[in-house]
């Protein structure tokens, strides 16, 4: 029997950790203690499992676990955090739109444009101050495939991939909470929309037109966007 010890180790992991290994994603609602258990299980992974097929998706330990750890410190006693992570990548079935033909002229024989929309992270947290925080991170990937024929009949195919990331963070303030207009506007790459009413809601959105160079940078982008809704409450 192959990989016996590693299979036994996986069987002992947290159920969400197992879902992450086999399905590359999970969706769960838990209090902070439950997420701490998952993080402890994930940190044991590298020492026990070495098979590349069962590797953790890199964004899990680099981005999602630190983000969950920060948000869990803001949960109240009865507060829960919902996380839906889909780390199968943008080429997974169901995320790619059908290819679209683009108008061409010689020497280009054909050109197609394919869009993939990958909402890889959704979070919803009931914070201890009574507000509700929602985070959405979506990668939109455009793949352009161009086929060219030169005068000698040789055919060449070129492929270009462009990625845009959309980060949206919404915070619904507690009912009748005193508001506070920030002293400065957000950075130019972040847009804020405030909806007034009995329960004020502040949405910050950003569109980043390049890939993050590291997990640290990715986390930094999410936290930077998440800052804006918190500047709109008193303190």
């Amino acid at each position: 029997m192959f990989w016996r010890k590693q299979k036994a180790a996986i069987a002992g992991f947290h159920p969400l950790h197992q879902a992450l290994i086999h399905q590359r994603g999970f969706s769960a609602t838990q209090p902070a203690a439950g997420w701490a258990e998952l993080a402890a299980s994930l940190h044991r992974h590298a020492g026990l499992v070495r098979r590349s097929k069962w590797e953790l998706p890199p964004r899990m330990l680099g981005v999602i676990v630190p983000l969950i750890a920060e948000i869990c410190t803001d949960l109240g006693r009865k507060g829960a955090l919902t996380v839906t992570a889909d780390l199968r990548g943008h080429e997974a079935p169901g995320k790619t739109h059908p290819p679209r033909d683009l108008p061409v002229r010689p020497p280009v024989k054909s050109a197609t444009d394919t869009w993939a929309v990958d909402p890889w992270l959704r979070l919803r947290a009931d914070l201890r101050d009574g507000s509700v925080l929602e985070v959405l991170v979506v990668d939109r990937v455009r793949t352009r495939r161009v086929t060219k024929r030169n005068p000698r009949g040789k055919t060449k195919i070129k492929r270009k991939v462009k990625q845009v990331q959309i980060i949206k963070v919404r915070r619904k303030l507690p009912p009748d909470a005193p508001g506070n207009r920030p002293v400065s506007p957000p950075p130019r790459w972040i847009r804020a929309v405030v909806q007034d009413g009995p329960r004020r809601s502040v949405t910050a959105a950003a569109k980043v037109t390049r890939k993050p160079q590291s997990h640290h940078e990715q986390l930094d982008w999410i936290l930077a966007v998440a800052t804006e809704p918190f500047r709109w409450s008193a303190r």
């Binding site: 948000i71 914070l127 201890r128 507000s131 925080l133 930077a224 918190f230 500047r231």
Partner: protein
């Protein structure tokens, strides 16, 4: 009961509020058993000295670094100074930011 005056939270700040069992030898802040970091220090003092063996010290370091960084990104000095004021208010429990940790009711803002 002397409440633990360690700052908790990341976006929404609060005080721990559990029963304090010691004082930080560096700053004198009251700390509970869960927040005694390396050398008996409070998480903030441990983080300032680079002693990151305790999870609360790591969290304190990350929180302060995030507030400083985002304050620069947003060009909003109030964002950082309000955090600093809240953290320092542990030494003056009668004043400063809202002292949620003094409230032990069911609807209290922080866990106690």
């Amino acid at each position: 009961m002397t409440p633990c005056a360690v700052t908790t939270g990341f976006f929404t700040l609060g005080k721990c509020g559990r029963m304090a069992v010691a004082g930080c030898p560096a700053c004198g802040r009251a700390i509970c058993a869960d927040h005694i970091a390396d050398g008996g220090l409070c998480p903030e003092c441990a983080a300032a000295r680079g002693q990151l063996g305790h999870p609360a010290a790591v969290a304190a370091q990350r929180r302060r670094a995030y507030r400083q960084r985002s304050s620069e990104q947003y060009d909003d000095t109030v964002w950082y100074t309000s955090f600093d004021t809240f953290d320092r208010s542990a030494f003056d429990p009668g004043a400063g930011a809202s002292q949620d940790y003094l409230d032990d009711g069911d609807d209290a803002l922080v866990d106690s």
